[in-house]
């Protein structure tokens, strides 16, 4: 981790690869949180299903 950082530099945009990995990780995590079913709340799970 103490090695010289690697940067992506395009025009005025610059970001370290480490930061980029974290940002991509956050976006992926957000996407998964939206799309993956909540544990115990899947269809057919009577316990997690509410009642009218």
């Amino acid at each position: 981790m103490n090695l010289k950082a690697v940067y992506i530099h395009i025009g005025w945009f610059q970001m370290s690869v480490t930061n980029l990995i974290i940002v991509i990780g956050m976006v992926v995590l957000f996407g998964l949180a939206l799309t993956l079913p909540f544990p115990g709340n899947s269809k057919g799970n009577k316990k997690g299903k509410g009642r009218k």
Binding site: M1, N2, A5, S16, N19, K49
Partner: protein, 318 residues
């Protein structure tokens, strides 16, 4: 309308309900977040780079240290001409007629001549020439002192910071004082002398940071580690450690015109103040978002909530 709303709000919930263990959820979240925080900070926590000391600076770049000392005596350093809150040398950044720093006044006075050079020199036993130089300086009036220091500062700049190439002139004791402080720093005595100014328990490193920031050595270290504002430095850490990615928007403004040109007026030269205003306005916008017509309706148009509660919307055929 209001009656109908009150009626609806007062009516008992007639939709579906489900059991929900809030305590269990809270404990699970706390445990997971605690484990993740400890594990991630152990693996990727901020690096503890070795502190840069005055000894390190004076040994590694003596010419830079020497020239910076001369500038402190002449008042031509970055700190010397900064203005509030350290001195009255300039008006500082402004938002049009509003000079923000000047309005706050000199709340942390820094006298570069005495705080950085003369006072530290008086705390040690100096060699003959340095002790004599100190006496000569202290027995002279401020006008003479300023003339000596300015003469030598200009001559040293012309000689590209090479003291051996400075022609003789009316420099008074400035070369000896600067040489004395260089020797003191190289011996490791200056760090403590600068820190010990003030209270018994000292936690204020402003003077050390300012003095070090006036030279090129500290600045060069920042550049080498991509920590300069012009290279998104706010977001970065040294080495390959993760930085403050959430500061991207704050850092972004410094990369684009007119803020990326420190010489352009009025925005570039006052980028700190203008960007603070922009970010303040954007933050305020975020806080009062529920009150902004159009913006507050965006969730209805984006419909992310339907993704979050997709089961409900599927089951209810909504």
């Amino acid at each position: 309308m209001n009656d109908r709303r009150s009626e609806l709000e007062a009516a008992p919930w007639s939709g579906r309900t489900r059991r929900y263990d809030l305590i269990k959820e809270g404990v699970a979240a706390l445990v997971v977040v605690t484990i993740a925080t400890v594990a991630l900070s152990t693996l990727f926590g901020s690096p503890d780079d070795k502190q840069i000391t005055f000894k390190e600076w004076a040994v590694a770049a003596p010419a830079d240290f020497y020239a910076t000392t001369v500038q402190e005596l002449a008042g031509s350093s970055g700190t010397g001409g900064y203005g509030a809150p350290y001195n009255t040398a300039s008006d500082g950044v402004n938002l049009g007629p509003l000079h923000l720093a000047k309005l706050m006044g000199v709340t942390h006075p820094v006298d570069t001549v005495n705080d950085f050079v003369i006072t530290p020199l008086t705390t040690v036993v100096n060699s003959g020439p340095v002790a004599d130089a100190l006496k000569q300086w202290q027995s002279s009036d401020s006008k003479t002192q300023a003339a000596w220091a300015t003469n030598y500062d200009n001559a040293l700049t012309k000689a590209n910071q090479d003291a051996t190439k400075v022609p003789s002139g009316n420099y008074g004791p400035v070369p000896q004082l600067s040489g004395g402080l260089l020797s003191m720093a190289q011996a490791g005595s200056l760090d403590g002398a600068l820190l010990s100014q003030g209270n018994y328990f000292q936690s204020d490193n402003t003077k050390q940071t300012l003095f070090m920031g006036d030279g090129s050595y500290f600045n060069d270290q920042s550049t080498a580690s991509n920590l300069q504002g012009s290279t998104w430095g706010m977001m970065n850490e040294t080495g390959r450690y993760p930085g403050q990615a959430w500061l991207w928007l704050y850092s972004f403004w410094y990369q684009i015109p007119p803020f990326n040109n420190g010489d352009s007026h009025p925005f570039g030269a006052n980028a700190d103040a203008w960007i603070m205003v922009i970010m303040g306005a954007l933050s305020l916008g975020l806080i009062i978002m529920p009150l902004i017509p159009g913006v507050r309706s965006l969730p209805y148009k984006i419909k992310i909530h339907r993704l979050v509660w997709k089961n409900y919307y599927q089951e209810e055929n909504l």
